[in-house]
């Protein structure tokens, strides 16, 4: 199957701005799925609200476009009742870690087999450029017109501390790595988190004089480095990318199956 076979072409053109990184995430996610040869009927994509969340409308899977921040809670219900299905949950940075932060840490803690993708553009794109929990100190946004005094989360450390059994970071510059990480994340049995640094040229870019979309993408090459690289040891400002955590832990649906066996025996 080709990538376009996974698209619902009759619902194009998409709603993203020219140069938006969300399309790159979509493209590489579909490449990963194509490589894995997963049947379209076996994938459920659940998303919340945001520019990023609109990704679910464009793919030919079972798609559930829900409410802001709660996608993982819906996905937990789907996965628990149909553990055989592949659950993919793309979220914006605000969706995942502001309004949805609680659901995020608890899904990670349960280690339920869901692939969570954080499309981190460091801004609320859909509502027009307000700061998110990932915008960062000193940046500008429509609700931080003087300078943002909110410190940002490190999504990777947060996911790790919360108990996710697969944690990775990549960018829209590193598309080969992105597709590869998506593939591993989907295959991973447990809660997997992939943070993708992705550009919002329209709001974050313009507000913070980050340049054109192409310059923002190019900048991911300069501002990131592979985990544990020499460059990383020399310059702590560089953001590490790659797979941080990949471990075998009991998965939630499997654990509940054991509960069912116990309960049925004791009856």
């Amino acid at each position: 199957m080709a990538v376009r076979d996974y698209l619902r072409e009759r619902f194009f053109p998409h709603m993203w701005c020219p140069g938006c990184g969300h399309g790159t995430v979509l493209n590489n996610l579909l490449r990963a799925i194509e490589n894995l040869k997963i049947e379209k009927n076996d994938i459920v994509m659940v998303s919340g609200i945001g520019c990023s969340a609109r990704i679910s409308g464009y793919v030919d899977f079972h798609t559930l476009h829900t409410i802001h921040g709660r996608a993982l809670a819906f996905a937990t219900g789907v996965k628990m009742s149909r553990p055989d299905l592949n659950l993919i949950v793309p979220m914006g940075d605000g969706d995942a870690l502001a309004i949805g932060g609680n659901h995020f840490i608890h899904a990670a803690r349960r280690n339920i087999d869901i692939t969570a993708i954080i499309m981190n553009n460091r801004i609320y794109g859909m509502t027009g450029g307000q700061f998110s929990p990932l915008t960062g100190y000193g940046k500008l946004a429509t609700t931080a017109p003087y300078s943002n005094i909110d410190h940002d989360f490190d999504a990777v450390s947060l996911a790790t501390a919360a108990g996710a059994s697969f944690v990775a970071r990549t960018t829209t510059y590193h598309v080969k790595q992105m597709a590869d990480i998506f593939q591993k994340a989907i295959l991973h049995k447990g809660f997997s988190v992939v943070e993708v640094l992705t550009q919002c040229p329209t709001y974050f870019g313009r507000k913070n004089r980050a340049g054109s979309a192409a310059e923002m993408v190019e900048n991911y090459k300069k501002s990131t480095t592979p985990i544990g690289s020499k460059a990383s040891q020399e310059n702590s400002d560089l953001i590490e990318r790659g797979i941080f955590i990949e471990k075998d832990l009991p998965e939630y649906c499997g654990e509940y199956d054991k509960i069912i066996q116990k309960a049925m025996k004791g009856k």
Binding site: F11, K40, N41, D42, V44, V46, S56, G57, D60, F61, H62, T63, L64, H65, T66, I67, R70, A73, F74, A75, T76, G77, V78, K79, M80, S81, R82, D84, L85, N102, H103, H106, Y256, I259, I260, K262, A263, M264, G266, K267
Partner: protein, 382 residues
């Protein structure tokens, strides 16, 4: 013939009824006075191969059961005021996306944390209008465990029939009171299963195209039809649209499918109404006191009657208008500031004959409370 008689709290009766109705998935978050339902589910569901989830909060619980319902499961969550408030956005989502689910709200006194362990019926309006936007909802209640059992099963049946969330609006007294009831034999109460599409794989399936009778056959998520579900206004494929005609039609559909079927949905009980000159209207645990008073005064020749509502929403305006037409006094008995009173006044031609007998102090309204208010209304003094 052996009867399956139970002597338990109302919350447990409700949980047992849900299992009788075919529940296979429950998610919840503990809150007084509904926690026993959640605990019962944690114990019982895995015994029958069902799934129980304790989520991180109430909105997550409702979201989780909506997801499970989409895969074809019968689902429920249970909570009380603060949790019900937290659920409201997801409730609107279930209304908009037409997902069958049952939400139990064992009412406590409010607003806010209010009176966790006391009697109140303050969430009547919230059950209908707590979530934003114009819509219709089904909310049911019961005053005793036998009725509660049947009404709970009915909630599941209505949720499937109308593809809608159904609220079970219980109260602390019924939830915590212990009382005997009989679990009906399997099959005694008819169950409504999921209406699934007969459209074959490979043929275009329209998840949001109502049939002529207004019903929408579903296709399980994970099954042969892939489609989109969204809380945005959507077309027959489930895709977002702001086309005025589509928006208008969906809006009408969501409201009409319930309001046009009040005659099929509505359930109530009548006590001594034939010759009653004073009619009490009540529901939930308040109706127990109302009934006690009616039976007591009847034995002394007073022409008192009781209409016990079991369907709160959609409100049975037509029924009330008919029943109260010839009454001298209509007295609404409830534990709030007159939430049903207002609907009754709207329903009948001469609203000046409608009075309120209420308590809002967390104490259970007694037959004596109602009697005292009746005497005032009748000009007899207490």
């Amino acid at each position: 013939m052996e009867k399956n008689i139970k002597f338990v709290q109302g919350n447990e009766a409700c949980a047992e009824a849900a299992i009788y109705a075919g529940l296979d998935f429950f998610a919840g978050y503990p809150i007084t006075p509904s926690t026993e339902i959640t605990e019962h589910m944690a114990l019982k569901l895995p015994q029958i191969g069902g799934k129980f989830l304790q989520m991180e909060d109430e909105i997550a619980s409702l979201c989780a059961i909506i997801g499970a319902s989409l895969t074809g499961k019968k689902v429920m969550t249970a909570t009380s005021g603060p949790g019900f408030s937290l659920m409201q956005e997801a409730l609107g989502y279930a209304i908009m996306t037409e997902i069958p689910c049952v939400i139990v709200n064992v009412q406590r006194g409010g607003p806010s944390t209010g009176l966790p362990t006391h009697a109140s019926q303050g969430d009547v309006n919230q059950a209908s209008w707590g979530t934003h936007g114009d819509h219709a909802i089904i909310a049911l209640t019961a005053s005793n465990h036998q009725d509660l059992f049947e009404i709970t099963v009915e909630a599941f049946n209505l949720a499937e029939t109308y593809r809608t969330p159904v609220i079970l609006l219980l109260d602390e007294v019924v939830g915590h009171m212990r009382e005997g009831f009989v679990i009906p034999k399997p099959g005694k109460i008819p169950l409504v299963g999921r209406l699934r599409t007969s459209v074959k794989q490979g043929v275009d399936y329209h998840p949001y195209l109502p049939r002529e009778d207004g019903r929408l056959p579903m296709s399980d998520f994970g099954g042969v039809h892939r489609y989109n579900v969204t809380g945005l206004f959507h077309d027959m494929w489930g895709f977002p649209t702001d086309d005025p005609k589509s928006v208008h039609e969906l809006h009408r559909h969501l409201i009409d499918k319930i309001l046009n079927n009040v005659h099929l949905i509505e359930k109530h009980k009548e006590y001594y109404l034939d010759d009653a000159t004073t009619i009490l209207i009540s529901y939930g645990s308040s109706a127990r006191s109302a009934r006690h008073l009616v039976e007591n005064r009847r034995s002394r020749g007073e022409l008192l009657g009781l209409l016990e509502l079991q369907t709160i929403w959609p409100f049975p305006y037509g029924l009330i208008r008919k029943i109260c037409a010839d009454a001298r006094y209509v007295v609404v008995v409830e534990m709030n500031m007159g939430q049903i009173l207002r609907e009754v006044k709207i329903a009948i031609d001469d609203p000046e004959k409608v009075f309120l007998a209420n308590r809002i102090d967390g104490s259970y309204i007694t037959p004596t409370d109602i009697r005292n208010i009746l005497r005032l209304i009748q000009g007899k003094g207490v």
